[in-house]
Amino acid sequence: MATDLEVGKTIMQGQVLVQAAATAQVRQPKRPHVWRKAVLPWLFVAPLLIANIVVVLGPSVGSAFFAFTDWSGLGSFKWVGLANFQRMVGDRVFHVAFANNVKWTLLFLIVPIGMGLFGSAIIAPIKRGAMFYRVAYFVPHVIASVVNAEIWRQILHPTMGIGPWLASRGLKFMDVAFFGNVHTVFYAVAFVDNWQWWGFLLVLYLAAMQAVDPELYEAARLEGANRWQEWRNVTLPGILPNLVFTILITIMWSFKVFDYIYLLTGGGPAHASEVLATQVFNEAFYQFEAGYAAAIGLTMSLISALVVVVFIVLRRKGWEI
């Protein structure tokens, strides 16, 4: 007859065995299919990855390479090192275009963002007809730029537009060919682009405002805050991530602005509305200077990359953006 100790041993051994069996069962490979772990994720990302490699990464790397060549856009090429970048230093058109891009950036950091913030602050408290305002301000953004450009070309037409119409009614100073005068053309095109852009920002800020906790406004009111103080201390911090994001994309998009300038003025007259993107287009397609155009394009990309780096650094420093 087994002693208690033996019985105990047996039981323990049995427990150990059962435990071991259980553990073994747990570890039993329901053998993970290799394709599920290593291949399947790639299959999911493959379509987008391939598309990006083909239409973004490939041409980007290609452009970066050609920036160091004398490629005409057709046929063979020679490696020219930094010659294209040295050429930029002495290129008057590049200087004008770069300065215009900087001017454009500053203009769009101030005007549409300011209008969007102001407009959203005014519209946010409106309850009745709120949707109407949102749609009304957003509509220009969904109209194709080529259509917008044509609408404003007609409105600001030098002989049939609003300018000569107002001039004939006494406002002589309005008799201006806005898209033809070297002093007004840049601002005229920026005005048209802004007309399409600021409504988008307004709606974006409005949406962000809805995410702000209403109790914060209530608390602010209980503390006796006025509308400005409410906006300054509750709304602005609440929408700060959206605001910073729009600042970021404004800077990046301002350095690649092309459509309205190309459609309305082609960069003219006398390069008064020239920007880097229109210069790239001219150099590549009319002057057969694809290498130089790529160098300018690479410069534009580096500027955008710099903005992104600043953005990342700020995030790492704890900015909620």
Binding site: G73, T159, G180, P269, Q287
Partner: protein
């Protein structure tokens, strides 16, 4: 349990490798286009200005036997036109060719941005069998890169040299070999509102002084002297620069400058550009420089047709728009040649090729493509029908047209122009348009730089000095289109 994740490094490695592979594949044909064998050059078949700077050309002829194995469609990419013009081209060109050549029909596709699309396709070793470009300066880039087939043998086979006007044929030759045929020839003339002229009792001017007097009279009558604008086509300015250089300095001097025997900074050319700038500053062009920069093609043709403007310096392509605009306005129009602007200068017409047609060096059916090219030039009646259907705006092939070739339904004013063009240029009075005979970068500066002259940020002397510098650089690099020889 730890899943194996795709690390950032692996992701970047794989992406990078794929990109490098892709780029390597994409670059291969463009970096080293494979030239094919050279044909036997038919002696004396192609002429070129002997004094013009030689262009570097990769030889790309393909033996005609290559064509026999691939009885496929001839892929033809064309710039897009309006519906009526496209229908005309289909009916009178594509359908007639396909009916006669059922084994190798033309597959014609209209492209919105033909030039850009074509460049990408051709250097990828693909693209259409038939290559169409906006002029000799453009096709020269393709030729230098080795993408265009030498057509010299086909020229002999089909007798193209005899069928085409000699200057137009020569414009397609480089280093004695034919690479392109002229699909559309053009020139510049002065359209005028006849209703306005009749009302004001004005006569078409025959000298520069008369033209200036007319412009002043128009200003006094509160009418734009010259309808113009470059808002939608910045290059429109070169339609004036070229004729002013020609009609002020004279054809011979212009030719000498093109072949390097004169400088663009010489006094004759300075005088021409100063005169053009003076006309702009005085508001002869659409009332003011600002208006000029803000008006589009539709605007200025409309202004002429509505009597808001008296005249319009424009190309023959405007034959496609002017009659319709005047029909709408109910007024009458006519034209006169650009008058000589300086004493001792003959009235002439600027020669221009607005479109060239060639064969892709990679075409697998060059024989069939050559037949399609021959279909453009081998029947004057068909060519006239097509040109007429395009309102003489496109596909005006420079054949030896006689007055009898113009059907009765062709506008008499248009027919009169082409007859006069043949007569005047036939006696040697012809000049050279910038978009046909100038290298591309210099041509671009011609109109971009003149904007600066008008704005006062560049002097005429600086402008011409820059032209000379650019011209010399491109001439040295072999980028000057062929210039028909002139006896001076």
């Amino acid at each position: 349990m730890r899943h194996r994740r795709i690390t950032r490094r692996e992701f970047l490695s794989i992406s990078g490798l794929a990109a490098v592979g892709l780029i390597a594949a994409a670059c291969a044909p463009s970096a080293a286009p494979a030239p094919t064998t050279s044909p036997t050059q038919a002696a004396g078949q192609a002429t070129e200005a002997p004094t013009a700077a030689p262009a570097t050309v990769a030889s790309t002829a393909v033996p005609p036997t290559m064509a026999s194995k691939a009885p496929t469609k001839i892929v033809w990419w064309n710039e897009s036109y309006n519906d009526a013009m496209e229908k005309n081209l289909t009916t009178n060109f594509v359908d007639t060719f396909n009916a006669a050549h059922p084994d190798t029909p033309i597959d014609l596709t209209y492209q919105e941005n033909l030039d850009q699309t074509l460049r990408t396709a051709v250097q990828a070793g693909a693209g259409p069998d038939v290559v169409i470009t906006p002029g000799p300066g453009f096709v020269l880039e393709y030729i230098n890169a080795g993408y265009i087939l030498d057509l010299s043998d086909f020229a002999v086979q089909y007798g193209w040299k005899d069928k085409l006007l000699s200057w137009a044929y020569d414009s397609g030759t480089v280093n004695g070999k034919l690479y392109s045929l002229p699909l559309t020839f053009e020139s510049v003339l002065v359209y005028y509102n006849k209703t306005v002229f009749d009302k004001q009792a004005w006569q078409p001017p025959t000298t520069g002084d008369e033209m200036v007097a007319l412009c002043e009279a128009a200003k006094k009558a509160n009418i734009y002297a010259l309808s113009a604008g470059n808002s939608d086509w910045k290059a429109a300015t070169e339609w004036f620069v070229g004729p002013f250089l020609d009609e002020y300095a004279g054809d011979d001097n212009y030719y000498k400058a093109l072949i390097g025997e004169k400088k663009w900074t010489d006094p004759e050319f300075v005088g021409a550009i100063k005169m053009l700038n003076d006309w702009f500053q005085k508001g002869y062009f659409s009332g003011s420089i600002d208006n000029y920069h803000a008006l589009t093609g539709n605007d200025y043709v409309g202004n002429l047709a509505n009597g808001k403007a008296a005249m319009m310096i424009d190309g023959t392509w405007a034959f496609a728009d002017v009659p319709g605009a005047f029909e709408q306005s109910g007024q009458d129009w006519d034209w006169f040649p650009m008058p000589p602007l300086n004493t001792g200068v003959h009235q002439s017409y600027g020669l221009a090729i607005g479109t060239t047609v060639s064969i892709n060096a990679k075409s697998k059916i060059p024989d069939a493509a050559a037949k399609a090219l021959d279909w453009i030039v081998n029947d004057k009646k068909r060519a006239m029908t097509i040109a007429s259907g395009m309102s003489f705006g496109e596909w005006v092939v420079p054949l030896h047209f006689t007055p009898e070739d113009f059907p009765a339904n062709v506008d008499k004013r248009i027919a009169r122009f082409y007859q006069d063009f043949v007569a005047v240029t036939g006696r040697g009075d012809y000049g050279y348009t910038t978009w046909t005979f100038w290298p591309p970068k210099t041509e671009e500066y011609v109109y971009q730089g003149f904007d600066d002259v008008m704005a006062g940020t560049t002097t005429v002397e600086q402008y011409l000095a820059q032209i000379q510098q650019q011209f010399d650089a491109e001439r040295t690099a072999g980028k000057t289109p062929p210039v028909p020889k002139r006896n001076v």
